[in-house]
């Protein structure tokens, strides 16, 4: 957590007060929440009333996808189509799947190209065929695995032409690339604290005033009657501090980290010439480098690099902890072996040139060993 966010958290948490109470302490807490709302709105190009504080990214995604679907279907019962992409985070993917399984939703899945990029023309075709039935379109701003930044402004414009609300999960994007809610033309946008130096368990959904959403959580109606639950004043204050710092520092951060990242890519390619660099080479998160190492298994490489103090990530793991081939890579046309051979290196605020030197020193031997392990009858 960012120092200033942590300090803001601790200072606020020391004060008592429920932001919904009418007494003086409650009013003080409410004031802190509203100041935070204005702070978040200001740096993300939204109006304060468009900021709905939530318990984090997963809740915001679920609220946007399910809430907008429910509200728009209620207004027009045959409007039960959801348009999404196969490379979404599970917080969106599984919410969409749930609507299909339990709420009779039809899903239009938009394809991605080999770099993981969505084509606005595909959305145009989808909406030309089904605009009347589409309740919501949801597509992420930037991919959490391969780092590809989507053409969100074009996609949102296509949706707007057809009068369909467009939600974007911008969890990976805020603080990494320029994000402006109003200028982007999206109807709803997810942001969360822990990806930008704020606390875990606090986030927001930016929701345009004219977009209806049925609540997931019913109760006191604290947040615009769309979200209930006593507000986490300290968390919200710290979140707002972190969002502001991330957005204000974005350009400088992106320039520094992208330079490191480009060096990492270059040197990984020299060290392991057969490596495949995944994702869009230019429209990409500055701190993301994603590779497939042919003949290796990502989880074996992870174990070997972890033992050398180098943290990296494979795709995701199932509930038992078993590594799964990345659905993002598979959607990009990779086969199972290539998907399983993939590894993501993420650079951030604390990354240094020395980190990259350490990786390059350890990588060739790790790749050799991982290859030997994979050459055995492959455990799956």
């Amino acid at each position: 957590m960012l120092d200033e966010a942590l300090e803001a958290y601790v200072a606020t948490a020391r004060e008592v007060g429920n932001a919904s109470s009418l007494h003086a302490a409650g009013r003080r807490a409410r004031r802190r929440v509203e100041e935070s709302r204005e702070q978040v709105a200001a740096v993300l190009g939204a109006r304060p009333s468009e900021v709905i504080f939530t318990g984090g990214g997963t809740e915001s995604d679920n609220l946007a996808v399910k809430g907008i679907f429910w509200a728009r279907r209620a207004a027009k019962p045959d409007r039960r189509r959801v348009v999404s992409s196969a490379v979404e985070h599970h917080a969106v993917l599984d919410a969409v799947d749930w609507l299909a399984q339990h709420e009779g939703a039809e899903v239009g899945w938009l394809p991605v190209d080999a770099s993981g990029r969505l084509d606005p023309q595909a959305l145009r075709a989808e909406l030309a065929a089904h605009a009347d039935q589409v309740a919501v379109v949801t597509a992420m701003w930037a991919n959490n695995e391969v780092g590809t930044v989507q053409p969100v402004v074009e996609l949102a414009a296509v949706a707007a032409e057809h009068g369909v609300p467009f939600h974007t999960d911008a969890i990976q994007a805020v603080g990494q690339v320029p994000v402006d809610f109003a200028a982007s033309g999206v109807a709803a946008l997810t942001v969360t604290g822990h990806k930008l130096g704020g606390p875990t368990g606090v986030g927001a959904l930016l929701l345009a005033r004219d977009v209806p959403a049925t609540p997931l959580l019913h109760g006191g109606g604290q947040e615009r009657d769309v979200r209930s639950g006593t507000l986490d004043t300290a968390g919200i204050v710290a979140f707002a501090v972190a969002v502001e710092a991330a957005v204000k520092g974005q350009q400088e951060y992106a320039a520094r980290v992208a330079a490191l990242r480009d060096d990492l890519i270059e040197r990984v390619r020299q060290a392991v010439p057969e490596v495949i660099y995944n994702g869009d080479p230019t429209d990409r998160l500055p701190g993301n480098a994603h590779f497939s190492f042919p003949g290796c298994e990502g989880d074996a490489l992870l174990l070997l690099l972890d033992a050398q103090g180098i943290a990296c990530s494979t795709g995701s793991a199932c509930s038992a902890g078993v590594a799964q081939p990345s659905h993002v890579l598979l959607a990009m046309g990779a086969d199972d072996d290539r998907a399983r051979s993939s590894l993501r290196f993420t650079l951030g605020h604390t990354s240094t040139q020395a980190d990259i030197d350490a990786l390059i020193a350890a990588l060739p031997a790790a790749v050799d060993r991982a290859r030997r392990a994979a050459a055995l009858r492959t455990p799956r």
């Binding site: 509930s319 078993v322 392990a373």
Partner: protein, 357 residues
């Protein structure tokens, strides 16, 4: 050494991993995901495939302070252990899946992968002793001794194995787990076959092999004395669950003497017909010294937790023959004959082979 600790989520493997750390090894914990569809919080029988077990293993690794990963061995386990288990029953034999899992998964697929990744050995929580002399011996806790299911391991496999618990009783292991702050200290032991959650082996086999009604035949008269819904569900020596229509002429209980998959027949007879003095077995493994040219005076054990019988064992190529000093009842093909040399410092495993008859 750089060692890989196989952690099931139970108390034994957790303490084994902790002892490996205490012995100065560089330890990495690995939980083997063996079920294709791990279930949450399975009730009743405890095995090694539940999400709860995976979580318990991770928690133990955290407490011990070692890196922890989950390896997906589900496909290998299904091919080499579960499918083999079903095929063996279908062929009229009685397999021991724990033994097969040690032979094919823990000390083969896992060990091979570990070695390829730069590890020197695999550590497990088995109750058996493996000392500097390289000999595999029974645990000091004879009630928990697992040398029988480890006797299939070859010299190469044993040379890359560490069993830190062999000198301790189960009670000592539990006490140590509590001292070390491991939450699994009082976790119940697993007893059943881990991939048969409800313990209903017959039901599991029926689901895999289908119903196959056939006759139960009396060995002495050749008369049909009952029917069954699948010969594969029976084990030599079994008495209960035969549901015979007619009592034996002499009124004495009858036992399964043999299973003939070809004719789908279960043959029954009196207890004494079960008695066997000669045991024939295939594919011997010999790890207790040089492979003997001459017959060896020793003891044999013919099933897990079974009686130990004095015997003379001779090897001939791919065959092993054991001449028992006294007859034994209920020797089932598919089980292992494990050869021990009595020793005050712990009976030594000399070798093993798969019983054919």
């Amino acid at each position: 050494m750089r060692v890989l600790a196989a952690m099931s989520g139970g108390v034994d493997s957790a303490v084994a991993a902790a002892r490996a750390v205490a012995a100065g090894h560089d330890v990495t914990g690995v939980h083997l995901a063996l079920a294709r569809n791990p279930q949450t919080y399975r009730t009743g029988a405890r095995g090694c495939c539940t999400l709860e077990d995976s979580r318990d293993a991770r928690r133990a690794a955290d407490v011990i302070g070692i890196p922890f990963y989950v390896w997906d061995m589900a496909d290998r386990f299904h091919e080499d252990v579960v499918d083999d288990f079903v095929a063996e029953y279908a062929a009229g034999r009685t397999p021991n899946p724990c033994l097969r899992c040690n032979e094919k998964i823990k000390f083969a697929a896992v060990l091979d992968r570990a070695v390829a990744l730069g590890f020197d050995a695999v550590v497990t929580g088995h109750h058996a002793r493996l000392g500097a002399d390289g000999l595999l011996r029974r645990s000091v806790d004879l009630a928990k001794d697992q040398s029988y299911v480890l006797a299939v391991l070859t010299r190469e496999q044993l040379d890359r194995s560490i069993f830190p618990l062999g000198d301790s009783t189960k009670a000592q292991v539990r006490a140590e787990a509590a001292d070390r702050g491991l939450a699994v200290a009082d976790k119940p032991d697993s007893h059943d076959i881990c991939f048969i959650a409800d313990g209903d082996t017959r039901g599991f086999l029926a689901g895999r092999l289908g119903e196959a009604p056939g006759d139960v035949v009396d060995a002495s008269t050749g008369a049909v004395v009952g029917s069954h819904s699948g010969a594969y569900a029976y084990t030599v020596g079994q008495r209960r669950g035969l549901h015979l229509d007619r009592p034996a002429a002499d009124g004495r209980p009858r036992y399964v003497l043999s299973i003939t998959p070809k004719t789908n027949t279960v043959t029954v007879g009196p207890a004494e017909a079960l008695e066997v003095s000669d045991v024939h077995a295939l594919r011997p493994v010999w790890t207790g010294g040089a492979r003997p040219d001459a017959p060896v005076e020793c003891e044999v054990q013919l099933r897990a937790h079974g009686d130990v019988v004095p015997a003379t064992v001779a090897l001939d190529g791919d065959r092993l023959h054991a001449e028992l000093r006294r007859p034994v009842r209920g020797v089932a093909a598919g089980q292992a004959v494990v050869v021990y040399r009595p020793d005050p410092a712990g009976d030594v495993v000399l070798g093993s082979a798969t019983i054919t008859g």
